[in-house]
Amino acid sequence: MTHTDRPAPAVEFRHVSKSFGTTKAVDSISFTIERGEFFSILGPSGCGKTTTLRLLAGFETPDPDGGEVRILGEVVNDKRPYERQIAMVFQNYALFPHLSVERNIAFGLEQRRTPRSEIAGRVARALDLVRLAPQTFARRSPAQLSGGQRQRVALARALVLDPAILLLDEPLGAIDLQLRKEMQLELKALNKQLGTTFLYVTHDQEEALTMSDRIAVMSHARIAQLGTPAEIYENPRTAFVAKFIGESNFLDGRIADRTDAWWEVEGRGGIRFRIPVLNGLASGQDVRIAVRPEWLDVFHPDAVPAGENAILGTVRDVVYLGETMHVVVSAPSTPDITVALRNEGQLINPLPWRRGDPATVAWRPEDCQILEDE
């Protein structure tokens, strides 16, 4: 038996592929989830995130040459869901309608032949964990619960088994906004408190950013980028990631010449801007960058700070968003550029920009996100 230095990660996908007919729902993806991690898979519908979850759960099996799925170091390709150390929370809760709350939660324990005497205690503790009072809720039937309560019961039912990995399939989709935010924080707290590994699937990028230790962004059956929320948000690697998470402005150009630590890039319509020097870039290469609205600022054309990239244009619109103000600037030959400015109170300290004003958009060269081809 080989002795490893550190314990096996909770989940490992090694070049896993899954096809339905001729379409690949998951195309040779690889990733690792460490024990205790809150790991999210984020992407639009159809990207393969749900299939990935189901591959881990055991409802789908990888293609014959389609890689390995490992749980705690063990290959589980051939194992049925009930043979894997997982528990799952479904989007529509999937509570057994013909069983009471306590029978629902006890279900998994009964399958493991837990002695009767123990079951009641564990059920009560599980309900406490999700903050539902056992006396009130144990005897109720799922039909008598609200959406949020059902979701908590679904959680309790999964957690009472102390699984190695908890799978969550867009569990907060059907819950309203206020409660959703509360539950996001609760889930995160549970993850830390219990030390259980969480695999969370969602299309809501805000949710993923809020709760996750790491995020895998998926698109078209592949992982577009894997990293911490900060890495994903601040250093998006592809245009897809830059667009899907938050907002981005895109600029295209061709690398011209190099000055010190920067490349000079020529864009369309005579625009020039600087980008950081990175390996793999050469003069004459086409490049695409992304800049987030909050990294830009708007200046009077004569008052642009030195050393910053600048584009001269005209204010096309000023949009009131509450917390922020968006100033949309149009410049010839480029798509409109959106700048996000903090709203310091339009009634007391309004922005000086009006439609039609000439304005310059500026940002620091190091804030350019150089995008890879997809």
Binding site: F59, P81, Y82, A94, P97
Partner: protein, 266 residues
């Protein structure tokens, strides 16, 4: 089309509908009414009596036929529901090659006229030199009930959340356990509906039964038929009335029950 309310409809339409519905029920209502008529001839109403009903109890042939109908009905239903539910499970929960064709083929027995299925079964039994009797009746009834059971149960399964079975499996229940602890209890109302449908189809069947019963056995519809053919007396009204009332009660009870338990999602 819901909420417009009956008030907005033209008068002639309401009247027409009322007349149609009335005519749809009139014959049977009349039949039942006259089962209490003391006179043997339907012409005039001579007085109220339960006599014809009492008469039914004296007739051994009717009682035996009733017993036979019940035995056949219950047995055929039990078999048809089992076979049909298994098929429905396969159709609703599994993707398999040839599924569309299979689904289509299942409707063929439903559209085939009873005389055709009856004759073909008679021919088969004769060809195999099987003696005709209760067992051939049961075999025939199962054959025409199964497609109906499948249709009802498939519909019920389609409305049932698949995640429930998946959830059970993540909680440690294998396929068999999941079926008995989750699928079956939730499917049960649908199965009962299918059973009711199957039983009524079997109990009321005349054409097919008359062909495969042979000379020795008789079910209730067969006896009623020969009574209608031969000598018409209000006993027929009485037994008819009983059948109608029994069916209506069964239907009403089943409707109420299925309305109370509709646990298709949580």
């Amino acid at each position: 089309m819901g909420a417009s309310g009956i008030g907005k409809l033209p008068r002639w339409l309401i009247a027409f509908t009322a007349v149609c519905l009335f005519l749809m029920h009139l014959p049977v209502l009349v039949l039942i009414a006259f089962s209490f008529n003391a006179s043997k001839f339907a012409v005039t109403w001579t007085g109220f009596t339960f006599g014809w009903y009492r008469r039914l109890l004296e007739r051994d042939d009717i009682l035996h036929a009733l017993q036979a109908s019940l035995i056949v009905g219950i047995t055929a239903t039990a078999i048809a529901v089992t076979l049909g539910t298994l098929i429905a499970l396969a159709l609703a929960r599994h993707r398999f090659r040839g599924r569309t064709i299979y689904e289509g083929m299942m409707y063929v027995p439903i559209v085939t006229p009873e005389i055709v299925t009856g004759i073909s079964l008679l021919v088969l039994f004769v060809f195999l030199r099987m003696p005709l009797g209760l067992s051939t009746i049961i075999i025939a009834h199962v054959a025409f009930c199964v497609p109906f059971v499948v249709v009802v149960v498939v519909a019920r399964l389609a409305g049932m959340d698949e995640n429930l079975e998946e959830a059970a499996m993540t909680l440690g229940a294998d396929e068999v356990t999941t079926f008995f602890r989750i699928t079956l209890p939730l499917l049960w109302p649908g199965i009962l509906s299918a059973a009711l449908l199957s039983f009524i189809l079997s109990f009321d069947d005349f054409v097919i039964t008359s062909l495969v019963a042979g000379s020795g056995s008789s079910t209730l519809p067969l006896v009623i038929y020969s009574m209608v053919r031969r000598n018409v007396e209000p006993s027929i009204n009485a037994i008819s009335a009983l059948i109608v009332v029994a069916t209506s009660v069964l239907l009403y009870v089943s409707d109420r029950m299925s309305r109370r338990n509709d646990p298709s999602h949580a």
